[in-house]
């Protein structure tokens, strides 16, 4: 009987994503049919003809997912305690430009320099997040406003640094401006060797070595949240600020700590690209990951595994944008689909959560079996 029940529970847990995927692909099919390209739907699943193309596709999706995962984690840490850090965007921009500039001029040997870059990025992100944190606890300024404003400030400041003091003096003519390129021993090795070791063909694209760090960070954050006292205090504050306060959690200190943590994690977002692809910060450095991170965090319901899945989903959808264009489908359709998917996933989640909660209460009322806390959150 117990196993039958847990089976049902698993069923419920899987129901949400399943329903969501069905709904969103139905919607996508409708959109595609509307522009007379219904045949293009397969492009979502078609990773390529040759194994090598397939590996390429997967690596493309993964490379996109890694920074999104980090962004989602950074946002979620704040969310878990009820802090809305919209400023992840600005935090990673400042972190990347400073880390890139500093990493290019330090004389440290490779691995140490990589470590330094990571530390500088995290410290910068945390410092940039410290502003709204301090304003909130000392002056009661809503972090929603201050982080929105600081994002704009970060754009201007980063532009100033890039065009001025951090600009590579030996740039060739042309419009693009970079910081100095990192010394080659500070480039993070890719993981293509690993793929080959698994018997896969070597992809043309480099799988970001930062994947390893992202996984470690994810595990660390999951551990921090679920096993440590700090994590408990954080989650308790998010679930009920009043109860947490009564339990002796110092709300102001927690606000500052969590903002700093969120900012430090945000500092990592630009590094996969910096250390694995561009090796310099420039005007063309990917922007907007902080905002997408909000969607990813919420899609993953602020849990580390959920965020990983959400980031992968975004990665795979984004990857499809190019094959779809070859089919004559404009990239805007992919964006539309992303929006639809986010909406249908969360709606399905919500419906299923309610079903589960109702069941939990029913079972409790019957007083028969155990119900876990998974339905919460």
């Amino acid at each position: 009987m117990k196993s039958a029940l847990s089976l049902r529970r698993v069923g419920l847990a899987l129901l949400a994503p399943a329903v969501a995927v069905v709904i969103s692909f139905t919607l996508s099919a409708i959109v595609l049919a509307a522009i007379g390209k219904s045949h293009a739907l397969v492009a979502f699943f078609d990773l390529g003809d040759t194994p090598r193309q397939q590996v390429n596709s997967v690596v493309t999706a993964l490379n996109r997912a890694i920074p999104l995962f980090l962004a989602g984690i950074a946002v979620s840490v704040g969310f878990r305690m009820g802090l809305f850090n919209i400023g992840v965007e600005g935090q990673y921009r400042m972190a990347t430009v400073l880390a890139a500039a500093l990493g290019a001029v330090t004389p440290l040997p490779g691995p140490l320099n990589i470590l330094l870059i990571i530390v500088v990025a995290m410290l910068t992100g945390a410092a940039w997040a410290a502003v709204p944190a301090v304003l909130k606890v000392t002056r009661g300024v809503s972090e929603v406003i201050s982080t929105i404003m600081l994002n704009f400030v970060a754009v201007g400041l980063a532009a100033y640094l890039l065009q001025g003091p951090f600009k590579d003096p030996d740039l060739p003519p042309g419009g693009n401006v970079y910081t100095r390129t990192l010394p080659e021993d500070s480039w993070l090795p890719d993981l293509n060797g690993l793929l080959v070791a698994f018997g896969l063909p070597e992809p043309r694209i480099r799988l970001y070595g930062f994947l390893v760090i992202a996984v470690i960070v994810g595990a660390a954050v999951a551990f921090l949240l679920s096993r440590t006292r700090f994590g408990f205090d954080l989650r308790a504050t998010g679930l009920s600020p009043t109860a947490a306060l009564t339990a002796g959690v110092d709300a102001r200190a927690m606000t500052v700590r969590v903002m700093l943590l969120s900012g430090a994690l945000a500092g990592l977002i630009g590094l996969p690209e910096l250390l694995g692809k561009t090796h310099a910060y420039g005007t063309s450095f990917t922007a907007g990951l902080g905002f997408t991170g909000i969607a990813v965090a919420l899609l993953g319901r602020n849990t580390v595994t959920g965020i990983a899945l959400g980031a992968l989903l975004f990665g795979f959808l984004d990857r499809a944008s190019i094959p779809l264009q070859f089919q004559g489908v404009p990239p805007s359709v992919v964006t539309i689909m992303q929006g639809l998917i986010v909406l249908s996933v969360v709606i399905a989640n919500e419906v299923v959560r309610r079903l589960a909660l109702a069941r939990a209460e029913r079972v409790t009322a019957e007083g028969k079996t155990t119900v876990t806390a998974e339905v919460a959150a």
Partner: protein, 509 residues
């Protein structure tokens, strides 16, 4: 004979997995005060909500003045002359009294809300029933009694002929209760019908014209208050005896556990709410704090827990000055806390029970494991609490929200006791809890006291205060105005002290 004002026939209401009401029959005559009693979870509120159109019955009929009605929403019930004062007040704090009262049936002048007309009408009701309303005050500034009068005004404003009160007296002091009952009598005199729910059986016997007992979702009897005693009524409800606060055999020692001197506290708006308070609690002693809600007892407790800073004065705990310690450090030093509002302060409602076991005890054994939380230990200890305190829940993984109020409260008591605190601050430990659970909690408090725990008890239940306390203080406008001996005190005397209208000197220990 005229048709009854309200008649419920064979009402059944099912929630997923629960039959909250089953074949309930209730007849309420016009112009009577009709009480409904029953255990926690017996289905009283559900029945009243059904009558008020908040949910539809699965089976059965509702008759108003002999005619069958079907309510689709409270609006229908209101139109049929039924009004309800809910167990948890249904007021918007940030709106004015006037706005709360007229909401949903506003007088209009063209497009706009006719404030003048509304004010006139409210003042009329206010003077007619002696409700003393201030239409332009914000509800958040009001005390509990005021809020209840706003609720009553809401109902009267809508021209209700039948009024439902769900546990109206749970949070009132005797004087306020008396006033409420005077109001009820006034309503009755005007020909209105009153249905009310209460756990306080003596009260019920005092004011009701008829009493219906509900057990496990169904009506078991309707009795005449003149013909039953409280004890008989309780037996009808639960089949067990009505508990009384335990008798006293002093366990007070000489060791002072808590020494509060000249404590002054300002609230978050900067008003002095605790004013130069001095008292001591010895090991093995229960110190009761009595006071009308809003006289500073909540802030006093918060200051003792470190939730509000002390403006001046000192708090010495076991010889150490803890005046400026943060909450966590106080808890670590051995202060336990049963907060007043269990939903907002005591529990993480959407978290598992075992996580709630951790709450407030993150840094204490057996939960603490370096910087980590020992989940296994937390689970095991949750199971122990469930066993020892008779918390009826499926297991440590059940969500706190899924427990009934009484079980939630027993769990909180068990949790706070498990750290073996040297001082326990218990605020309204049995509020809204049914008679069985109440007895269990009293039992626990008494046992802890016998083992040498110092206890500060804040309660609105005067029987409880008098029955449990070794020493009783009365707090009025932030000051301790009397120190009383519970051994010789009646609730009425205590009530008089609390409202500040006692003859000076009388009853002072």
């Amino acid at each position: 004979m005229a048709a009854p004002a309200v008649e419920l026939r064979g009402i059944t209401k099912r929630f997923p997995g629960v039959v909250a009401n089953h074949d309930v029959n209730l007849v309420v005559r016009r112009g009577e005060v009709h009480a409904v009693v029953g255990e926690n979870g017996a289905g009283k509120s559900t029945l009243m909500k059904t009558l008020y159109g908040m949910h539809r019955p699965d089976e059965g009929q509702i008759l108003i003045d002999g005619r069958e009605v079907r309510f689709r929403s409270p609006a229908d019930a209101i139109a049929a002359g039924i009004g309800m004062v809910h167990q948890h007040f249904m007021l918007a704090d940030n709106l004015t009294v006037l706005e709360n009262i007229v909401l949903g049936s506003e007088p209009r002048k063209g497009l706009r809300l006719d404030f003048a007309a509304a004010r006139r009408r409210i003042e009329e009701i206010s003077s007619c029933y002696g409700l003393r309303l201030r239409p332009d005050a914000l509800v958040e500034e009001l005390g509990v009694g005021d809020r209840q009068r706003v609720e009553i005004a809401k109902v009267l404003y809508r021209g209700a002929r039948t009024l439902i009160f769900d546990e109206p007296t749970a949070v009132l002091v005797p004087q306020e209760v008396d006033e409420l009952f005077a109001n009820l009598a006034g309503l009755k005199a005007e020909g209105l019908t009153v249905i009310f729910i209460s756990h306080k059986l003596d009260e019920v016997l005092r004011v009701a014209d008829a009493i219906t007992v509900i057990r496990r979702g169904t009506t078991v009897a309707t009795v005449d208050p003149a013909e039953v005693t409280a004890r008989q009524l309780a037996e009808l409800m639960v089949g067990s005896e009505l508990p009384t606060p335990p008798t006293r055999e002093s366990t007070v020692t000489e060791t002072v556990q808590l020494d509060v001197r000249g404590l002054t506290v300002r609230n978050r708006e900067g008003r002095v709410v605790v004013d130069d308070v001095t008292f001591q609690v010895r090991r093995g002693e229960v110190v009761g704090i009595a006071g009308v809600v809003g006289n500073g007892q909540a802030e006093l407790v918060e200051a003792l827990m470190g939730l509000l800073p002390a403006e001046s004065g000192s708090v010495v705990f076991g010889g150490e000055d803890i005046t400026s310690w943060p909450t966590r450090r106080r808890r670590e030093a051995g202060i336990g806390y049963i907060p007043e509002d269990r939903h907002r302060q005591g529990l993480l409602l959407t978290a598992a029970l075992w996580e709630n076991r951790v709450l407030g005890h993150q840094t204490l054994p057996p939960i603490r494991k370096g910087a980590l939380i020992d989940r296994t230990a937390a689970r095991a200890d949750t199971e122990r609490i469930m066993r020892e305190y008779d918390v009826r829940a499926p297991g440590p993984d059940a969500l706190a929200i899924a427990l009934s109020g009484g079980n939630q409260q027993k769990f909180i008591v068990g949790r706070e006791m498990s750290a073996a605190p040297r001082l326990l601050i218990a605020a309204h430990p049995t509020r809204g809890v049914d008679v069985g659970a109440q007895a269990a909690i009293w039992d626990q408090l008494r046992r802890a006291r016998a083992e040498g725990m110092a206890i500060i008890l804040v309660s609105a239940d005067l029987e409880e205060l008098i029955g449990l306390s070794d020493t009783l203080y009365v707090i009025l406008r932030g000051r301790l105005v009397a120190r009383l001996d519970p051994a010789t005190l009646t609730p009425e005397e205590l009530g008089a002290h609390m409202t500040g209208c006692q003859v000076p000197g009388e009853g002072t220990a």
